[in-house]
Symmetry: C2
Subunit: 163 residues, 2 copies
């Protein structure tokens, strides 16, 4: 490179970059670990208390938020956990009388999926307990820390969405 | 708080509880959303740059951290992302000369999986870029916020692990 002093510039820059990279990677692995720990706790409790899988709960949650119904494709896109087979879960819920799946009037190739009143009732019973489990999972964090975490993740999310 | 005011105590307590529950649930959904956003960005880049899936990258990352090799069961347990078929991915990596899968001397029913030197080289090439992608995904957060987030998630993780 140029001159003795300059020699160290690329190295310093590089090692600072590497520190930033390592820090970001550690942060990402920590987010992922927390997600996995919470997910597996919720999964186990849904199974034990309601014999329900997380993808099935997730699918019903999306439908509860959309009483007007969702097309199968929209439903798939909105799911927050992976590993579920949307067609299979929906078919099972139809059989149990918890959702309806009707062809759309203006697009007969698309099906509109809706919770039935019984489905909504079943979901809300689970959702109430689910909310308490989640609350307990976070209860060791002081409220101030939870609020701070919420804010920081909000900033992260905004940046990620605009990426 | 005793006398007329007491009447309001159970209600206040209950509504505070409900607020806490809602807050925890919102926090959990935000963590999950951030995880999903980062995961799908990384997934897309791995695919585009290396024609590699995230579960395959994850599997190679675990092997890189364990040069002594891992049994199939250990390998499965250590994976951080879902959706991969460990046996299928391992078989494919063996075919490509990137890992070896050998029966253990003292337990011939168990296979020990190791990265080959070529596998290690291929992984490190991807890992370097992966680290930079992740770094960029977090780059809109000031360093102070990243550090703060790391600390708060550390406290969350500790609580979850001791749960």
């Amino acid at each position: 490179m140029r001159g003795a002093a300059l020699k160290r510039v690329p190295l310093d820059h590089e090692s600072r970059m590497r520190d930033n990279d390592h820090q970001a990677l550690r942060l990402w692995l920590r987010i992922l670990t927390c997600t996995n720990l919470i997910e597996s706790a919720v999964r186990a409790r849904l199974r034990a208390s309601f014999n329900c899988t997380l993808p099935r709960f997730d699918l019903m949650a999306q439908l509860e938020r959309h009483p007007e119904g969702l097309k199968m494709g929209e439903l798939s896109r909105r799911l927050m956990v992976t590993g579920g087979n949307v067609t299979g879960i929906t078919g099972q819920l139809v059989k149990e009388g918890l959702v309806t799946r009707e062809p759309l009037l203006n697009d007969r190739r698309a099906n509109l999926v809706k919770l039935t009143p019984a489905g909504s009732k079943a979901f809300n019973r689970m959702a109430q307990e689910h909310e308490q489990w989640v609350s307990r999972l976070f209860s060791h964090l002081p409220e101030r820390d939870r609020r701070q975490l919420h804010l920081l993740l909000g900033a992260l999310k905004t940046g990620l969405t605009n990426h």
